[in-house]
Symmetry: D2
Subunit: 364 residues, 4 copies
């Protein structure tokens, strides 16, 4: 499977460069009969739109998605769903200065090392704009999950060192602040922190948390394709992500077995767990409790400060970037993490649909 395709039954292929004609995605394998319209996909794309606050790039990306295939009379037909967003605001001139220079923290050098050629305008395929296709496809996956009674909540857990407080968590707050934090106080601190950084022409990273509720027990493939392994791949495949945790993550490593084990209990004849350190996955298979994952997002590598680097001829040089960059990418990446989780879970639902002869016979 080539690099821009993921998923086995719910399969997503994305394409497009930041300064090409368009970006898009093809979703193949979505079951027939799902209600789907452009507005639903657009709502997802709007969540990653820049220019919504002073903490994201002022670049205008008035992304309008079109569904070109796979939907007939308002429902999916089971055939590939082609989603396209034409690129509108491309100021190629902004990037001419970096044509022959490898920007620190970016993939300019590695794309050149691999392909010998690269679309240097704004990072080409390694630009954050590549995530438009992910988000459009994630919107379709989210529709599928929604129909199955599954709900995803994603938010910013931390902006740089400023953490949302577990005890003050309020999901209603998420849409009320520019950082999509579930804690109003933390969002205010994050704003002060960002103002300071922006004065210094510097940038911030952060942590994104994603919670999936209502996902049934018994999904995920053992061994190499464990549900947590697929989620880790999906989330780590987002450009700026440097770490992934399931449940308690690294904290679990410092705990003892008696602290970390989630004991089972029975409620109204249904088996559940008293705690959820495991984050909803045991042995790579969902256990019916909330699935919880976290992604560490590195600070935006594009900063106004002067940086040391080299050019294509291997000569050292200084670089001062002047384009319109996000001082923090985390708020716009929230929906990208959610999209990748949704795509992974939709695929897991379809892949794991008939694990037994009983289920196979029931459906024939």
């Amino acid at each position: 499977m080539a690099g821009s395709t993921t998923g086995n039954r719910f399969q997503v292929t994305t394409w497009g460069e930041t300064h090409g004609k368009a970006v898009g995605a093809v979703v193949d394998g979505c079951p027939a009969g799902l209600e789907l319209c452009e507005e639903q996909v657009q709502a997802f794309l709007d969540r990653r739109k820049p220019g919504q606050s002073r903490y994201t790039t002022k670049r205008k990306e008035d992304d309008r998605v079109e569904i070109l295939s796979g939907v007939f009379e308002g429902r999916t037909t089971g055939t590939p769903i082609s989603l396209i967003v034409y690129n509108t605001d491309q100021r190629s001139a902004d990037y001419s200065g970096v044509k022959d220079i490898f920007r620190p923290g970016h993939a300019d050098y590695t794309f050149e090392a691999k392909y010998g050629i690269r679309d240097y305008r704004g990072g080409g395929r390694s630009s954050g704009r590549e995530t438009v296709g992910r988000v459009a496809a994630g919107a379709v996956a989210s529709r599928l999950l929604q129909e199955c009674g599954i709900r995803i909540v994603t938010y910013t857990k931390a902006i740089g060192p400023v953490q949302a407080d577990e005890s003050r968590m309020d999901y209603d707050e998420i849409s009320r602040n520019p950082f999509f934090m579930p804690d109003a106080g933390a969002a205010e601190h994050a704003a002060s922190y960002m103002e300071e950084l922006m004065r210094k022409q510097d940038s911030a990273g952060g942590v994104i948390e994603c919670r999936i509720q209502g996902f049934p027990a018994g999904y995920g493939e053992p061994v190499f394709h464990k549900l947590d392994a697929k989620l880790a791949q999906a989330v780590m495949s987002i450009g700026a992500v440097k770490g992934v945790e399931i449940g308690d993550g690294f904290l679990a490593a410092s705990r003892t077995g008696s602290e970390n084990n989630d004991s089972f209990s029975a409620q109204d004849g249904r088996i559940c767990k008293r705690t959820n350190h495991a984050g909803g996955i045991l042995g790579g298979i969902s256990d019916g409790s909330e699935i919880l994952l976290r992604a560490a997002v590195k600070p935006t590598p594009s900063i106004g400060r002067e940086q040391q680097t080299v050019n294509r001829d291997g000569e050292e040089t200084l670089l001062r970037m002047t384009g319109r960059h996000d001082p923090v990418i985390v708020p716009r990446a929230v929906v990208v993490v959610e999209a990748m989780a949704a795509i992974t879970l939709a695929d897991a639902l379809l892949e794991g649909a008939v694990p037994t002869m009983d289920k196979l016979k029931r459906i024939l």
Copy 2:
């Protein structure tokens, strides 16, 4: 692709239950002409063997690997390499008590939820013994990497809260202590910590770190199959792993762009980086510097203490486990992490071998 197969060009399929007749792996796609013998694979398996210290299970697993195919006159032939290890020390009686009980922290419940049936003897396929196949296959991958001048160093970074000190790191220490820590002092603290836990019939987790040296720049597939994404999947697919980091990982999330960016420099006409916060991967493609990853391993869920749980009928019950368990799995998991990294990198080398028309023509 089914759950027990991973890789695209260097493809590994594992099979076998802890109390079945045997466990094994099939490696398909290994290039022809690689020198390979059973002793090389055995050396890897010996590193995961239990009973080497008082901190691992006393269960005897005298695993002897046999190569059944794919090697002729001491070299691989390009055809599937079948590796088998017969199970010898299976005391099924030990597990009869848990036949109908879901052990906390184990996959008993989720396997039952998925498959409706499970080999309850020692966890069946969800047992740590499943990693025998991974390690055997990883030995083949390591041979391939070695031939290409690539070296992997893997060790225990932390046992519970006891961390190896970056400033005292000495790779020679790794094989001198039962925890495979590169810091003798930390290993002593870890021993005390474990003694205390074992008295309390409790268990510990830890952190494993893996460093890959000499891996060339320009490998890894952009977007969904980024090199870091594939490493994250590979490592998270190990049963007890709950978190994965590349380079600075979660620490990067709290840093600023100017702190986190690795500036490029030129040394003897070769482009390199002054620092390596990125852990050797930019935009999902290797950048030629050391690849660095970390895995958080949860504490062994099997503990001697009494635990609350439920049985298959959904009735609450108390469980006291009496089998021979590892009070800490981390030392034995070190080689498993290394194996998964090796498999992933071998596949990346083959997948990314001809990214350009120039390379394709050069090889025709």
Copy 3:
């Protein structure tokens, strides 16, 4: 892998319905540095264009292809190449009569059986128009092969019972007659045969032959992914194809070993074969001689004659089709067979690029 994606390293995904907004393909994994422009792709599409003779549909499909991504300054960049063709001539009204009727020989009934819903306008995704994406992607594959010195010749071997004569074969004739036959006399007979059939409101099938010259020895993966097996899948996946042969095909079944074996000889130190009954493939791996395959194309199922059938309610009914249909699809399918062969061979070249440690090391 979902149904509309094929290939492993040279991976093609197609999408689009005959009466949707557009049809297209995404090619991922094409090596960087290949010269590619829209005119080259257009030239392929023009070969499948209808309305070029009285023996194909009068429907106007003025397909203009656009490259939306993956090409920069006239060369491929290694990133996905998105190809789009907007649908222009859609007379939905033509098809309203068959909305609730299952046309014999078409996939109306099976799509309904599978998906419960279908885009009934012109067959939707099961229309021959689905091949636009194949041909566009095949044009890219052909460019790659051409750069590697590989040439493909494809032509009509038979129209209904009218066969091209092996002894009169002249490739220059192919483009001179509306059937793309390499035998002018046979083409004339085919024209008479078609006139007669068209008077009877009936349709014809035929046989397409494809020859690949210059393909190097040593490509193709043994066992399940043999080169002939992949070619068979590729060609049989074209809607109307009902049989595939490699080399002598079914004729070989009636021959003896001494007749059918191709003996090896040495010419100027190069190993070659005295005959080519095998069609260039031995044990699933190319042997360096011409690769030869044949596809049996069934007669167009859309005919003017009255036919018995049933509607969605399971009631028997009579159907008389009035749309604009191809009395014979074979001439337009020639380039589709060539495209599928090219896609398969491009993938085989990339998949099989480094079968040995020697080749791997040479390229590092």
Copy 4:
């Protein structure tokens, strides 16, 4: 996916050389709860056993299969099923004469061209013995199909030019003659034909036909993974197969649309077809009628007659083979074709299990 693995949900990996220690297969993805025992697999293997008549090799292959994993208390558990057959009768000496010689019609030369090395003893991985793994895996697939009410009948349609007569077809005859032909008279002619050939130290090929009854409508993935395309790949991947037909196959190419279209009818409220020229598949999706496929098997390339060939140094030489070879491989290949059909159909059933939201919700 590497060469020795096939299938997506019902995934089969085979391994092993004819003169290695063992051959085997791993079946991953088989649903849990299927009754399976070694005798059932053995029964399949016995059908490909040589030495059952004077028309197959006198080599003794007393293949005994062992199930090493994936079955617990007589039922599959959903985990990989490892099947192994140890090689017993290996007379390496027989083959020393061909160590440096490329046998005509065999894959010696192409394996050498690809891998630079080959296990020359009996063809290594390109030997017909590779099919042991296919047949063992096919036995598991057949059990699955059987449970779903699907039945496969496979037989020899022709030995060389001697064809079974459609009008005298009697399935009960299949097991009564050494050729597995459903026509006693044709079997007698085949015997005479073979005697003559054997006197001349020559060999024969033939045609195998496979009929699948009870396979439900609505399975198979459109476009590249059509059910007929997957069957074509599966059957063409058998070493000696040079052609594949679905339904009327090549005959359809010479017919007219009005002759070839199968008209639909309604019987007891169920939609069916009056004829079955299509062979049970329309648009790549099963239509509920009998699936019919045919494979052309080339004559055994190993013959006693002297043949011209070359050695590894590219020198021309004469070869007279003395080993124990099958004068006709067709009877032993019947169960191989059946196995490949069964594997393909089992995979199609699982892949296509939830094509609609309705089915997905029904099973959650």
